[in-house]
């Protein structure tokens, strides 16, 4: 109840300051995200979550949305268009770390604020950190670190680990190993690969006792379908990216019993989240994924900062962002010194839902107040 009141008071505060400070009306936000191809449901959910928050705030922030089709060169030219032609104040939306690395360093060096609703490559948390770059999701390693810690605690000895060969995939396996230790085997696949027969045969022939894989989007669907068909029989684990609600819908019962790590779950019991899940389902007719929650949080964080300062007043706006005074759907949220979140990572289990279809259920906490491993490399 107390949370309801404080949320209400906060909304009121935001509403009054909206009239006091015209920061909303003048603000233009550019969103470059993946809306087509195998990674499209990630971008669509980030967009829908983001726009839901904008709509609920009743602010008139202008959001320009473009599809990058998971192509780095396209993302880069869209960023140039956003900055030079549209003259946006804030940029956001990129899903994939290889696109993030192509776009973000230049954008933030040029003085534009970038809010990451998904990608968190290690370089941007460490050596390339920047006062204009805020990550509202996680540093790439985080969810994998948590799963490494969890699997170690569960007594698994020899996992086989698989990830695509791109910055987030490298971060994933690094993160996993930093908390688990030595693994039985590891494989990098091609980003966007659709056939995993060779990798699955390799896993089957190894002495592994479990499989950990990070394959977001369509890659995860292909892998799980083929894994089920090959009758490997080893338990699988992964970050939430490999088991979001869309992937579960495609994979079906084969995923039941699988444990995965996430900073958010749709059945988390806090007022902001209950309201978010309800309104998201009402508006879009589907269960939100973690990507939708990240989009929603990104927009609300941005709105909370805009209520205090205009982006043209860079110093004040950055301070308002860093304070992170908003109701996150994942509960407590705060930034570390490198503008990356310090947050709890939870364990979710895939169970049969009320309608018989597999769905994620919150099962416990993996690591409390996890901060990324690169914060000491960031000189800001």
């Amino acid at each position: 109840m107390k949370k309801f009141v404080s949320a209400g008071a906060f909304a009121l505060m935001a509403a009054t300051s909206m009239t006091a400070l015209p920061a909303f009306a003048e603000t233009k936000v550019g969103m470059i995200t993946t809306l087509s191809g195998g990674g499209s449901h990630l971008g669509i959910d980030v967009r829908d979550g983001f726009m839901l928050a904008i709509e609920q705030s009743k602010s008139d922030v202008e959001v320009i949305i473009r599809d990058d089709a998971r192509k780095p060169e396209l993302a880069k030219s869209l960023a140039n268009e956003m900055l030079q032609k549209e003259k946006v104040d804030i940029l956001t939306g990129i899903i994939w770390s290889n696109l993030a690395m192509a776009v973000i360093p230049e954008v933030v060096r040029g003085g534009t604020v970038y809010l990451s609703p998904n990608a968190g490559p290690s370089a941007l948390a460490g050596k390339l950190c920047n006062e204009n770059y805020f990550n509202v999701a996680w540093q790439n390693n985080n969810l994998h670190e948590a799963m490494g810690a969890y699997m170690k605690k569960e007594g698994l000895k020899a996992p086989f680990i698989v990830a695509p060969n791109y910055p987030a995939g490298v971060d994933a396996l690094t993160g996993f190993k930093s908390y688990f230790g030595e693994v039985e085997g590891e494989l990098f696949t091609k980003l966007g690969q659709t056939d995993y027969a060779a990798e699955i045969a390799q896993i089957k022939a190894s002495k592994a006792d479990s499989v950990f894989f990070f394959l977001p989007g369509g890659m995860g669907i292909s892998f799980m379908k083929q894994y089920g068909g090959a009758e490997v029989g080893l338990p699988v684990f992964g970050p939430a990216f490999s088991f979001d609600e869309v992937i579960l819908g495609a994979v079906g019962d084969a995923a039941i019993g699988v444990k995965n790590t996430s900073q958010w779950a749709y059945d988390m019991d806090n007022a902001a989240n209950v309201a978010f899940v309800k309104s998201f389902k009402e508006k879009y007719g589907r269960t939100p994924t973690l990507y939708a929650s990240q989009g929603f949080d990104t927009a609300n964080l941005m709105l909370s900062a805009l209520a205090k300062a205009a982006p043209s007043d860079a110093e004040a706006f950055r301070a308002a962002m860093k304070a992170a005074e908003f109701e996150s759907v994942r509960g407590a949220f705060k930034f570390g010194s490198n503008n990356h979140p310090i947050q709890n990572i939870y364990i979710r289990e895939v169970v049969a839902g009320a309608d018989g279809k597999p769905t994620n259920k919150l099962a416990g906490i993996a690591i409390e107040n996890l901060q990324d491993a690169y914060v000491s490399e960031c000189k800001m």
Binding site: E186, D195, A201, G218, S222, E231
Partner: protein, 306 residues
């Protein structure tokens, strides 16, 4: 590493190879007979998968979906041949590339317009789910085994069609001398439409079969198209035999490279470096293969008009 693993990976390579052959044979026939570079072949593959997923979703039967996917792609192929492709035979290759690239864009946008941008999925028929034990201690997914079987049937069927039938004779004649066969009174435009539609049926079939193993999504055809071009360049453009050998070569080299290169590098490098260097080199391997083949035999392994 043991014999069973190597055997299983060889089977995986062959399975990729026969699917590439199914794609590449249409591409190489169209180029050999009509002299046309058809970039939209990947779109026909995608259309096959989408039609299959859609029909299988409605009827609940994968087999009806498979039939619909192959035939649907064939009908689509015949239509674009009649409406667009037909005007391109006498133009130079640049015009053909431009026009068929435009077709890719139209198909991709049209598909995401009709089916939405998020992937569809196809369920494996119960009959073919699960694995079978093969001699040598290999257990192999039944569905993939079926794909290999289908590929072999297609290869034999195409061989018989081209070497033993009247239509095949005309196709071979068309490859050798297009003007002469027209002058001899063969209805050349009907032949062209037929060849194009056969290629489209095969592409649609490949799309439907592989759609079960992957997710059916916009843009799924282009990676296959690139591989199919590598195959026909290696095999010799216009040659069905070349396409078969090239496809098997590419399938096996790609699969074995992906798995065994990182292991090979770990003999000389430490584990993390070996994994990244190995995977990087593995993804280049088929292009290296193509470069080597072209250096030794500039017209491919089995040049059609040698």
């Amino acid at each position: 590493m043991n014999i069973a693993l190597v055997l299983e990976q060889l089977l995986n390579g062959v399975q990729l190879g026969v699917m590439l052959f199914t794609m590449a044979s249409g591409l190489t026939l169209v180029f050999g007979v009509m002299g046309l570079i058809n970039l939209s072949h990947g779109s026909l593959y995608m259309m096959g998968a989408f039609i299959c997923a859609y029909v299988a979703g409605i009827t609940g039967s994968f087999w009806i979906g498979l039939l619909a996917g192959a035939l649907g792609a064939g009908v689509m192929g015949a239509i674009i041949e009649l409406v667009v492709i037909r005007r391109l035979y006498d133009r130079d290759h640049l015009d053909q590339v431009l026009a068929t690239f435009a077709l890719i864009l139209i198909f991709s946008e049209g598909t995401s317009w009709i089916f939405g941008a998020s992937p569809l999925w196809l369920d494996m028929p119960d009959l073919l789910s699960g694995s079978v034990s093969l001699p040598g201690g290999v257990t192999y997914p039944l569905y993939r085994l079926m794909i290999i079987g289908v590929g072999i049937v297609i290869a034999i069927g195409l061989y018989l069609l081209i070497s033993r039938t009247r239509i095949g004779m005309r196709i071979r004649a068309g490859e050798n001398d297009r003007e002469m066969i027209g002058a001899l009174g063969v209805n050349i435009s009907a032949l062209y439409t037929f060849v194009f539609a056969v290629g489209a049926v095969l592409a649609g079939l490949a799309g439907s079969l592989l759609g079960v193993l992957q997710s059916v999504q916009v843009g799924m055809g282009e990676p296959m198209l690139i591989l199919a071009f590598v195959v026909i360049v290696i095999g010799g453009i216009g040659s069905i035999k070349g396409a078969l050998v090239g496809a098997l070569l590419v399938g096996v080299v790609d699969t074995l490279g992906r798995i065994f290169l990182p292991g090979l590098f770990s003999l000389v490098l430490d584990n993390a470096d070996a994994t990244s260097v190995g995977s990087a080199l593995a993804s280049m391997l088929i292009y290296l293969l193509m470069a080597v083949v072209l250096a030794v035999k500039p017209k491919g392994l089995f040049p059609a008009n040698a």
